[in-house]
């Protein structure tokens, strides 16, 4: 584990991932039309059917309007002012060249982020796929995973190498008609990860993708698809950062998870996109559709997220619990400071009998931020013996912030048992006093209380991530107090 100790963390006092890497990029012109989609598809050497799929999504997208129901306030997005494709120039030949060399500049970028790409410095126990703007630059541990039959590769590679799996599963959970941002993603997605774990295989390492936005005025549209076949197990981690810029950048991702009989997928995110400065200038607009489908009996999907960045977050990782006895879990910590706005939560749709779901959401709002939990628990008619337990707690630090909780609960079966609890309160004076009376300064005391508040979620994260999440929280709270 020595590598992990020396590894840099996501968190630091200033937003230290705000640097820009100076590389030559191969870019599409700004704007969006069918030609741009053809351009992206051609860049990726995609087969005809993929292009058709993208165009279908694009045509649907043009008929829709951007959703505005969330408690978010942001100016009109000009979709024609965004660059939908940007790739480091030296990487273009990646799929032609077997051992494609990685631009040393990019390699350095990921090292600064704490993601060494060189095989020698590879993280122990974690296989990493690193995505830089629109393309995936490196995937580690591939051979070892291949031996076990596990496919872990950039999605653009999977489209070429595993067209059958892609045709079967892409869009099966989040169809291109799902929502405005998902259909935009379906039309222009550039990269992301693809994971397939075959029957009975328990993936021995944590799979991880690291997303990085570098180029200016570029949107990042990644698409991740994870399939766990019968009895399989996989744990997946995702991290994100972006440079500091005064303009807003758009990130619209789609993540689809599919779990067959007795399979289990754990999906953890630490999202630390650049959130803008204290005046609310700049930052990433994060519009993400994440959904898991528990198809098989007794399957399990677990979402864990730490949302600490992005100027705007619009994200509802959900579970469709179709298989009898399947389980969905959602653990979330959302921290907002300065002028950040987050509208996040989950949807648990109980379709199968005896399905269970747990929701634990912790929101911390500081400064002038707006932090909203929005969720749905639905039991469809005929789904017997379903059980849900939700707890949504909000903590207020500062007097200009807002904390909102908007859960929707719909039960259409008499055997369902659903419990929901929510609280909103100021950070407890009593607890702070108790800690301070033992000689601990105020800032550390607040950190202790907030960490305790988030503990239920952090303990669900893999160890290294939990350590980083704790640090990240500490930084976000710095200066918000007093």
């Amino acid at each position: 584990m020595s590598e992990i100790e020396t590894k840099e963390t996501f968190a630091s006092g200033e937003y230290k991932y705000g640097f820009v890497t100076d590389i030559e990029a191969d870019e599409a012109p700004k704007g969006l039309n069918e030609d741009i989609i053809r351009f992206i598809s051609a860049k990726k050497n995609e087969p005809e059917w993929m292009l058709e799929w993208r165009l279908k999504a694009y045509r649907w997208w043009t008929t829709r309007k951007e959703p505005r129901w969330a408690l978010l306030d942001y100016p009109e997005i000009d979709y024609q002012d965004i660059r939908y494709y940007s790739a480091p120039k030296k990487m273009i030949d990646r799929f032609k060249n077997e051992d494609g060399e990685i631009d040393p500049e990019i390699s350095k970028t990921f090292e600064r982020l704490g993601i060494p790409l060189g095989e020698a410095k590879r993280l122990e126990g974690v296989a990493v796929d690193a995505v830089f703007d629109s393309v995936s630059v490196a995937t580690s541990h591939q051979e070892m995973l291949e031996e076990m039959g596990i496919i872990f590769c950039p999605i653009s590679e999977a489209i070429i190498k595993h067209p059958d799996l892609i045709k079967k599963y892409m869009g099966a959970v989040v169809p291109h008609t799902d929502n405005y941002f998902a259909s935009l993603n379906s039309a222009v997605f550039t990269d992301g990860s693809f994971v397939y774990v075959p029957k009975g295989v328990k993936c021995p390492v944590e799979l991880s993708t690291y997303f990085r936005i570098n180029a200016q005025d570029t949107g990042q549209f990644e698409r991740t698809l994870i399939i766990a076949d019968e009895g399989a197990y996989v744990s997946y981690l995702e991290g994100c950062t972006a440079p500091m810029r005064d303009t807003n950048q758009l990130h619209a991702a789609v993540v689809e998870l599919i779990a067959m009989d007795n399979a289990e997928i754990k999906y953890a995110t630490i999202q630390n996109w650049y959130a803008g400065d204290e005046k609310g200038r700049g930052g990433i607009y994060n519009f993400v559709t994440k959904r898991g489908h528990c198809r098989g009996r007794k399957s399990k999907i677990s979402w864990t997220q730490v949302e600490a960045g992005a100027a705007i977050t619009w994200k509802y990782p959900s579970c469709i619990l179709e298989g009898d006895g399947s389980t969905g879990e959602f653990y979330s910590v959302a921290v907002t400071n300065n002028r950040m706005q987050a509208d996040t939560g989950t949807k648990m749709i109980h379709v199968g009998n005896n399905t269970k779901s747990t929701i634990v959401s912790k929101g911390i709002s500081c400064d002038e931020s707006v932090n909203t939990y929005r969720g749905l628990v639905q039991v469809v008619p005929g789904a017997k013996g379903c059980r849900n337990y939700s707890i949504c707690d909000s903590m207020l630090v500062g007097d200009k912030c807002s904390a909102n909780t908007v859960p929707y609960i719909e039960a259409e079966d008499s055997t369902a048992i659903i419990e929901h609890e929510a609280t909103t309160s100021k950070i407890s004076e009593d607890q702070l006093f108790y800690i301070k009376s033992r000689g601990i300064d105020e800032e550390s005391a607040i950190n202790l209380v907030v960490n305790g508040f988030c503990k239920d979620v952090f303990k669900k994260l893999p160890l290294e991530f939990a350590v980083e999440a704790t640090k990240l929280l500490e930084i976000k709270l710095e200066g918000s107090i007093g």
């Binding site: 909102n404 609960i409 719909e410 039960a411 419990e419 929901h420 100021k426």
Partner: protein, 435 residues
């Protein structure tokens, strides 16, 4: 970018509530209240009609209300008091029917000037000073919607109940509405005003006989002035052919308290907003509610607990059961306005789903714009506890009886707060009939 929703042609007025109907209604009303109606009517014309795609109406489409089948009833004039079975329990009774409303003053409170009860038109003539405070709907803390404006313009029964400062009522006031009509729109507007340091209980019962069918679009405005205590119990028992649209607001001033129990048992279709602004420092609200839907009933209730001042308290408990093919919707919102510190707010909604075709939706919400407060909500949806049923059955109680005992127990937390036995009996009767 034409979506289906936009393509839909929209009629902005509620059927039957247009300029013609307004002119006709005004003819039957007193001169003094016409100006206010006229203003409200213009506001009404300017507002968009609610649509099924609006978040507020997503679960109860405005199209479900058969306005095209009803006729607006003329203004109900002052008339004769008609006695009812529980009238002896109250100091003052107002009986309301389509023919007229009458007042009984058993304790001589009206004669002594301690309480004022009069029609709104009469109040506009006799008490212009008092009415001026209420005409702009100060209790209504949100932008008026189409139906609120409709009520302000088209009300055909208006009543002012004013309890003078420092008056304490021992037995309370009963307002009993029994409007018979084959197909009429009943638009009541009730203004309750509790003077400073006064204390009173007001019971409002709304019902109709089995062969009538009405749409009731009601508004209730309640003003609880400094240090006053107002207890309100609203029992809605309209029959299965009727529909009820309610928009009830309370404004609670400094150190005053409202205790408000809403019993929405009747009507085929209910869309009610129950809103309370604890507006003065140190004010408190205790809000309770019960409902029990059966058959094809659809009951949609939205509660708002608004905290616009520091040091305010509100507690809400709504309990309901859904049976047969009925559908209940509960939406609750706690709002803490900026600067409302030291707020305590609680909201609980418990639901029993008794049949597989029944459906209960619950949407508890918190919208908090202040720090230094404690707010919480809890919501549960479940079925009858098997252990409790087994316990009762093992003591020789039939399955059917055991169910009713458990449901009565479930309701008891709210029912025991009702200070009148005849109303508690109504709750038990509904459990007996629908359980």
């Amino acid at each position: 970018m034409n979506t289906q929703m936009e393509a839909e042609k929209r009629e902005e007025n509620i059927p039957g509530f247009d300029a013609g109907a307004f002119e006709q209604l005004v003819l039957t009303d007193a001169e003094a209240s016409i100006a206010a109606r006229q203003k409200a009517f213009e506001r009404y014309l300017g507002l968009p009609a609610p649509r099924a795609v609006d978040e507020e109406w997503r679960r109860t489409s405005p199209q479900m209300f058969p306005f095209d089948k009803v006729q607006l009833l003329p203004v109900i004039p002052a008339g004769k008091y008609v006695a009812g079975p529980n009238d002896s329990l109250f100091d003052i009774v107002v009986s309301v029917s389509a023919d007229g409303f009458g007042v009984q003053d058993a304790s001589g409170l009206l004669a002594d000037g301690k309480v004022k009860v009069m029609g709104l038109s009469e109040a506009a003539e006799q008490e212009p000073g008092l009415m001026a405070q209420y005409l702009d709907g100060k209790a209504i803390g949100e932008e008026a919607g189409k139906f609120e404006a409709l009520n302000s313009a088209f009300w055909n029964f208006g009543l002012l109940v004013r309890i003078e400062p420092n008056v304490v009522l021992e037995r309370g006031i009963l307002v009993r509405c029994d409007v018979e009509s084959e197909a009429g729109a009943f638009v009541p507007r009730l203004v309750l005003s509790s003077g400073a340091q006064s204390s009173a209980t007001v019971v409002e019962c709304t019902g109709n006989s089995p062969d009538s069918a009405v749409i009731c679009v009601s508004t209730k405005e309640m003003y609880v002035e400094d240090g006053a205590v107002l207890k309100v119990i609203s029992l809605q028992e309209l029959n299965d052919q009727s529909a009820h649209l309610a928009n009830d607001w309370a404004r609670v001033e400094r150190n005053a308290t409202i205790e408000w129990i809403g019993l929405n048992f009747g009507s085929r279709l209910v869309k009610a907003r129950i809103a309370c602004d604890v507006a003065g420092e140190g004010s408190a609200a205790e809000l309770d509610g019960l409902f029990f839907t059966h058959g094809e009933q659809h009951v949609d209730q939205k509660t708002l607990q608004i905290h616009s001042s520091p040091n305010t308290y509100s507690r809400l408990l709504y309990k309901g059961a859904v049976n047969d093919e009925s559908h209940s919707v509960y939406q609750g919102i706690i709002v803490a306005k900026p600067g409302a510190v030291k707020v305590d707010a609680y909201q609980t909604n418990n639901n029993l789903v008794l049949s597989d075709s029944a459906r209960a939706d619950t949407i508890p919400g918190l919208l908090i714009d202040a720090d230094d407060l404690k707010c919480s909500h809890g919501a549960t949806i479940g079925n009858l506890d098997e252990d409790q049923l087994f316990y009762l059955r093992s003591r020789g109680i039939s399955q059917d009886e055991a169910r009713k005992v458990v449901i009565n127990g479930f309701y008891d937390e709210v029912a025991q707060r009702i200070p009148y036995e005849f109303i508690r009996d109504r709750v038990h009767a509904y459990v007996q009939e629908r359980g």
